[in-house]
Every structure is written in structure tokens, then in C-alpha cells.
Symmetry: C3
Subunit: 349 residues, 3 copies
């Protein structure tokens, strides 16, 4: 896709300075932008680049003062950052705006679809699947029987959703994530083997959730594993059976949450964190990367770090002393010698 400076200025209701016919087909950071590219300057720190960039078009603030000749065509707007973000979104929308049913795909008669749906080739829909309006099912996606995907959701290539799971509206599931695999439940037997506990629940993903590539969310033993509105999960995260993650909580990559643990809303959880099962994490908890949570957090707004995790500031102090443990040990040794001498002198007197 190509856009002329005139088209962009019209879209953004901006004031054009320079050649209105120059065209761009790509977007880049100001320090990397070349000919045929669009960029922007919002931060005064980057203003120096305006005289050296090869970007064909720049979106800048109304107030920007130009002191020397420049190569780029300018579009002046009230808030350059907001205008640029708006263009990014539209760019992403236009380049991702697929629709129609590609062949071969596997779609039983019992499937119900809304308007403007995209189903890519090699996608597989089970019996009674329901797809809302504007849903995009990329190639190679698998949806088990009775899966529901609500309006405006996007399932990227190779996503697998097992039977009976429910996906909300405006949800984005990235490539390779697995929703609704069996929870890890086994009953030990007298002969040291394990018997599988059937996992007959499902996963319910509420609206506005984004789930990263190759992340796995297990179905509940009974009932539902629940991912609430606005939750953002990064890549390669493990969410076990019957977990409940609260509204607007974000979790970074490779974190694991064990079975039946309930995480509050507005939590911010780092990468590679581990949580044992059956604990509660209070609202607005902040957990540092690589922490290990073995107990419930009952007070909202707590910050934690370490494995086992505890209060962030105290933990940092312990860590600092940990680094100097050889020194501390040496100090104790010296004290022991001095005290020994004092005691000997006393005895000797």
C-alpha cells in the first residue's frame, strides 16, 4: 500500500509543508527511516534527526521550528505521537484485514458464523462451533466441538482450542497457543502408577484478552479455568487447571501458575515467575521476574521478589548482604579470634 503526503495530511487533518505528491509505503523510527518511509518526531530529543533523515514524510508537532533546510515533507498536527499511533493502528488493521473462507478448510454444517468472517486454509472447525462477526481464524487453527469465538477476535496460525472452550470478543490468540488441554491431574495408585483424573471442565476467556505464542492454558477438572477481561499474557506461559486470572492483570513470558490459584486484578507479574497451586494473589500485586510464590498474598499492592518470594525492599537488602557473605563470614571469624583471646587473657589472669 502506498499513501501520498496529501492523503495522510487529509486523514490526520494536518498542515502540509513540502511536496504533496511524495509517497510512502512503510513506517520506521526517525533514526532508521529511508526514502519512501514515513516517520514522526514527538520528543524534542529527536529533533536533530530532522536535518539528516531520509524519511520522505514526517509527522511533527504544529509548534516545531525548522532552522535549516530539510529533505522531508512535513505534516504538522496538534499531537504528533497520537497521530502517528493512529496511523500505526490503521496500517495494522489494513494489512491484517482478511475475510472470506479459504479452501481447503474443514467446516461442518453445524458451524454458525457471523458476518465478515475469515477462515484460512487448513483451519479445522469442530461440530457446533460458533464464530461471531469479524472473527479471523488463520490457517491451521484447530477449534474443537462446541467452541465459541465472539466478535472481532483473531486466532493466529496454529492456535489449538479444545472442545467446549469459550473465547470472548476482541481477543487475540497468538500462533501455537493451546487453550483447553487437559489439566495435569493424576491419582497415585498402590502400585506406584498414576490414574488419570478426567478433565471435563473448560477454559473461558473474557473480552479484550491477548495471549502470546505457544502459551498453554489447561481446562478445568470441573468448572472453568478463567482468564478475565483485559488480561494480557505473554509467550510460553503455563496456566494450570482451575486457575482464575483477574481483570487487567499482565504476565510476562515463561511464567507458570499452578492449579486452582486465583490471581487478583491489576497485578503486574514478571517473566519466569512460578506460583504453587491453591493460593490467592491480592489485587495490584507486583511480582518481580524469576520469583517463586509459595504462599498467598493477602495485602493488595504488595511488591515481591525472590524464590521463595517476599517483600521487595527487604529482599533486596538480603541480596546485597548475600553478595558479601564471604566478608561477613570473615568478620565473624575475626571476632571469634579476638573474643577467644580476651577469654584466654581473663582465664590466664
Amino acid at each position: 500500500m502506498q499513501f501520498s503526503a496529501l492523503q495522510l495530511a487529509t486523514m490526520l487533518d494536518g498542515k502540509l509543508e513540502g511536496n504533496p505528491d511524495v509517497k510512502v509505503s512503510n513506517i520506521a523510527k526517525i533514526e532508521e527511516a529511508g526514502e519512501g518511509m514515513l516517520s514522526f518526531i514527538a520528543n524534542p530529543k529527536y529533533e536533530e534527526f530532522i536535518y539528516t533523515t531520509n524519511a520522505s514524510i514526517l509527522i511533527v508537532n504544529e509548534s516545531l521550528v525548522i532552522e535549516r533546510p530539510i529533505k522531508s515533507t512535513l505534516i504538522r498536527v496538534k499531537d504528533a505521537y497520537s497521530s502517528f499511533a493512529l496511523l500505526l493502528e490503521q496500517y495494522r488493521y489494513l494489512t491484517g484485514n482478511k475475510s472470506g473462507i479459504q479452501q481447503p478448510s474443514y467446516i461442518p454444517k453445524s458451524v454458525k458464523m457471523g458476518e465478515n468472517v475469515f477462515v484460512g486454509a487448513f483451519a479445522y472447525l469442530g461440530e457446533n462451533v460458533v464464530l461471531g462477526n469479524n472473527v479471523k481464524i488463520y490457517p491451521g487453527v484447530y477449534l474443537g466441538d462446541n467452541v465459541i469465538v465472539n466478535n472481532d477476535s483473531i486466532l493466529y496460525p496454529g492456535v489449538k482450542v479444545y472442545d467446549n472452550c469459550i473465547v470472548g470478543s476482541r481477543v487475540m490468540l497468538h500462533a501455537g497457543c493451546v487453550i483447553g488441554g487437559d489439566g495435569f491431574g493424576f491419582a497415585p495408585q498402590p502400585d506406584s502408577s498414576y490414574k488419570k483424573v478426567p478433565q471435563i471442565g473448560n477454559v473461558v476467556i473474557h473480552d479484550d484478552v491477548e495471549i502470546g505464542a505457544n502459551t498453554t492454558i489447561d481446562r478445568a477438572t470441573m468448572g472453568s479455568t478463567v482468564i478475565r477481561k483485559g488480561v494480557k499474557l505473554d509467550n510460553l506461559i503455563q496456566v494450570a487447571h482451575n486457575v482464575d486470572i483477574g481483570t487487567n492483570t499482565v504476565i510476562a513470558a515463561q511464567t507458570g501458575v499452578s492449579g486452582s490459584t486465583k490471581i487478583g486484578q491489576n497485578c503486574v507479574i514478571g517473566g519466569q515467575v512460578g506460583m504453587v497451586g491453591h493460593i490467592h494473589i491480592a489485587d495490584s500485586t507486583k511480582i518481580n521476574a524469576q520469583s517463586g510464590l509459595s504462599k498467598s498474598i493477602t495485602i493488595p499492592n504488595t511488591s515481591l521478589t525472590g524464590s521463595p518470594a517476599y517483600d521487595y525492599k527487604s529482599s533486596l537488602k538480603s541480596q546485597a548482604i548475600f553478595r558479601n557473605l564471604p566478608d561477613l563470614e570473615k568478620r565473624v571469624k575475626e571476632l571469634e579470634e579476638m573474643v577467644k583471646q580476651l577469654l584466654q587473657e581473663r582465664a590466664g589472669v
Copy 2:
């Protein structure tokens, strides 16, 4: 599927109290069950729910005493929990009991299949693949050349098994797991680059193994990476080349086992554990979540925690003091001042 109270009572050889025609189409926990659902009470703690639940049918123990009117139809059996578990299994079996070959799928003439096999659409079977009786290959599964899958095994959507790997009987491979990818073996070259060491072994998975979603098990350099009978692996686990995991060992999510390490039988290994290569873990070892194993464990039945991991109880003691390190450091400082004073007084005398 729908079942009437009479059908269920007959199946379970139970005694029916209430309307024999009431029907259920779903299963739920007693505290969440609504109309049209089946639930059970085995634990006396939950008996109070019997007067408030909307479950249409309840499975209860013969001995249960009802003191007030209830809405549900009861089926009385000797052991409510066992009867319910039996129903769960049958439910799971019936809802998952697929068979036949869906189109399009890719099945060369050299493939051999047993009876009652399911092959989903977009599944790919390599040359000389052998599928035993009742094997279920879900949509989008890939089996390389010469792969063998024995009786009653289930490969969920998007499982990938590379050439020459062998899958036992009653094995369950969850969506997205990768069996037999190349081991991570590279020989350093004089120019600082690495040369790939060809990985020509395979993976052998014995009977009754379950492997979680997106878990990866690498093929051996030569010989076999071996997952023994009854092993249960959770999601997102990494098993490197030439690893050997013993009978009935269970490993929680996101654990990684490096090359050539041999894990004994009946071990219980937590999530996010890491093990270096070329070590041996004795039978019945218990390893806490997030531990790091850098040495062999030679004594069976040991419990470990920490990174690096050592004896569980000792490690907990060190962790407790770690939390109080700032206090310990303060005590040493106070001692230093007191001893300094004592020494000065002595010198002053």
C-alpha cells in the same frame, strides 16, 4: 448427549429416589451445578449443598440421610465418588470417541493401520507409518517417516513427531508437543562458529505415558531418548537428547532436563526445575519447584530444593536466615563495636 435418571441408575446399579425421567446433559461441582446437570456428594462437608443445589440429579452414598425436602433426583450407590469418577471417564470416552479418516488428510500407501483408527483432516502421515488399533490422530498432526504409534494412543491437534520415533500404547500426546526434534549439539570451530552434530537417534515413548501441550522431547544423537512406562509430563517441558526418564516419574510444567541425564523411577519433580546434563537422579527423588540440579542424586528418596539444590530441610533453614541477613549483619556490627571497646579498654589499662 442426554441421560435420564433411570438410565444412570441402571448404569451404576444404584437406587433411584425422585423423578426417573429427569434428564442431564452436563456435569458440574455441587456448588456450581444448575438445572440439567449431574453432580455428586461424597464428602460430608458438602452435604449442606444438597438442600440448595439446582442439580437435576445427584449421586450420593447409600447411607446419606435427608432431613429436609430437596429438588434433585437422587441415585444412591455404595461409593458416590467412585461411581462419579466412572461416569466422568465414560463421559470423556464417549465425547472423545472419534473414528474414521477425515479428508483431506495425507496418507501414503505404505502406511499400515489397525482397526477403529481416527485420522483428522490435515493430518500428515509419512512413509511406512504404523498406527495400532483405536489410535486417534487429531487434525493437523504430523508424523514423520517410519513413526510407530501403538494401540489406544491419542495424539491431539498439532502434535509433531519426527522420523523414526516410537509411541507406545495408551499414550496421550497433547496439542503442539514436539517429539524427536534435533538434539542441541554443536561442535565449536576454530573461527568461533559452530558445526552441527547430526542427530540420528530417535525418541522412544513407552506405554501409559502422558505428555503435555507444547512440551518438546529431542531425539538422541545416537540411540534413543527414552520416556518409560507411566511417566507423566506436564506442559512446556524441555527434555534434551539422550535423556532417560524412569517408570512412573511425574514432572510439572516448564521443567528442563539437559542432555544424557538419567532420571530414576517414581520421582516427583516440580515445575520450572532445571537439571544439567550427564547426571543421574536416584529413584523416588522429590525435587521442589524452581530448583536447579547440578550434581547427581545418589541416595533414593531424597527431597531437595534450591538453586543449586540440596537437602530440603537444611535449605529451608538457610532460607529463613537469608530473610534475616540484614539483622544478622547488624548483630555482627554490634559485636564488633563491643569487642573493639573491650580491646581498647584492655590496651588503655
Copy 3:
């Protein structure tokens, strides 16, 4: 495939001792090789096996002295290990040498292909995809619009590459890895929800890179996430947006690298390591498994361990004392009692 001893001796320019017509169809370690198999002896430690092995053919050094009767046919060469490695590579090449376009696959007219390309069934190529010579696209691979895969690269089953990403020459992407998923970028909103920051950059993978099964590499917000020449990534690794990994750096399984972090060349990074975003790791840094990097490493050739990570040797010393913390605490307590007594005596005088 079968090879006779005579064929192999000719290929390796070796001297044949024994039956020239004996055939092998498989390769194994000397201690595991049976009839119909080829093995080798390079290390004197393994020479004892020569009298007991059932291997049909053995590759051995010219100089090897045989003292008792043996069953195997020998091929004597200058360097048994090199000759064997050569055979391994050829074996791997021959068994993996697929070409042609399998059906059904999805290939728009805008796709451009070099010579001798393999595209497996159920593979999906987006608009304007370019495949170089000898590229192998296994079944079920997804390539988004405008993806370029250069000569001699292999994409194993179920690999997903999003729009606009670039894959170099001689690259190997293992099953299930996801290249170019959206970076994890969200702007917090006044109502505690998050707004997605569009991710419009791409991933650029240079030549000779190998990437493990189910590893995920996110596209840049703008610009490129870059994996440089010769990098080797193991399975289940997370590489976030705008990361840059330097030439010939190797990273073991389950490590995570946060956004915009830049790793130098020739680094050796263990498994389950975590790195925060926006740091720089100097060339030739060595990072122990399970370490956590929260700060830049500015001095090349540093070795680190721990979480938070610091100098390897110092960290080992602290870890040793950590194990004895209960003892250290006891020593401090004893000192306190002795000093208290000394002080009391002084006061009492």
C-alpha cells in the same frame, strides 16, 4: 537404504577386512549396535567392544591392532571419527532430501520459488512469499505475506512465520517455533486497562542460524528483532521485540530475553536464564543456567551466575556460605553470649 561394506569402503577410501558383501541399514553406538548396523571405534577406551559387538560393519583407525577373532567386517581409515561423522551427515542428508510440491498446499500465484524446493502438504504460503533454492517447507508450515526464506533453509512441521519476516540461508527452524508474533507492548490507560501498541516491525534471521522447537521470537515494535549469523537457539526460548542476538552466540533451552536487550557475539548462555529489557551483554559473556540478568554486562569474557547474577567465582563462595548459614548464625549467637559475659564481668568489677 542399505549399503554394502564394499560401497562404504569405496566412499571413505578405506581398506576393507572381512566380507565385502555384508550390508548395513542403520547406525548405532558400538555398545548398542546389532546385526545390520554400522558403528565405529575412535577412542581406545571402546576397543574392548570390538570382540563382543554384533555390528556388521565397523569403521576403525588404520593403526588398530586386532588380537582375537571378531565378527564384524572392518573398514580401516586414517581418522575413524571424521569418517564416521561424514557418513552421519550424508545419512542425514539422504534421509531428509525431500523435494517437490505436495498437495494440498496453499500457494498463491504471487509466490516465487527457486530450484529444488520442497513444500509439504498443508503448508500455507502468503502473498509474495519468496523461497530460495533447495528450501524445504515441511507439512503444516505457515508463512505470512512477504516472508522471504533464503537458499538451503529448512522449516520443520508447524513452524509459523508472520508477515514480512526474513529468514537467511542454511537456517533450520524446528517444529512449532513461532517467528514474528506481536511484541508484548501495551500502554496503561487511566481506567487500569491496557491499550495495545501496534507491532509493525519484523524479525530478521541471518544465515546459519538454528532455532529450536516451540521457541518464540517476537517481531519488533518498529524496525527489526535480529538474530545474527551462526546463532543457535535451543527449544522453548522466548526472544522479545527488538532484541538483537550477536553472531555465533548459543543459548540453551527455556531462556527468556526481554525487549530491546542486545546480546553480543560468541556468548554462551545456559538454560532457564532470564534477562530484563534494554540491557547490553558484552561479547563472549558466559551465563550459568537459571541466572537472572538485571544489569548490562560491559566487560567481555565475564562469567556470571545467580539471580540476580554476578561474578561466577564470588557467587559460588556466597552460595557455599549460604548452605552453612545456620552454622554462621549459631557462631554469632555464641559470640554474643561470650561478649555479654565479658561485658557483665567488666561491669561487675
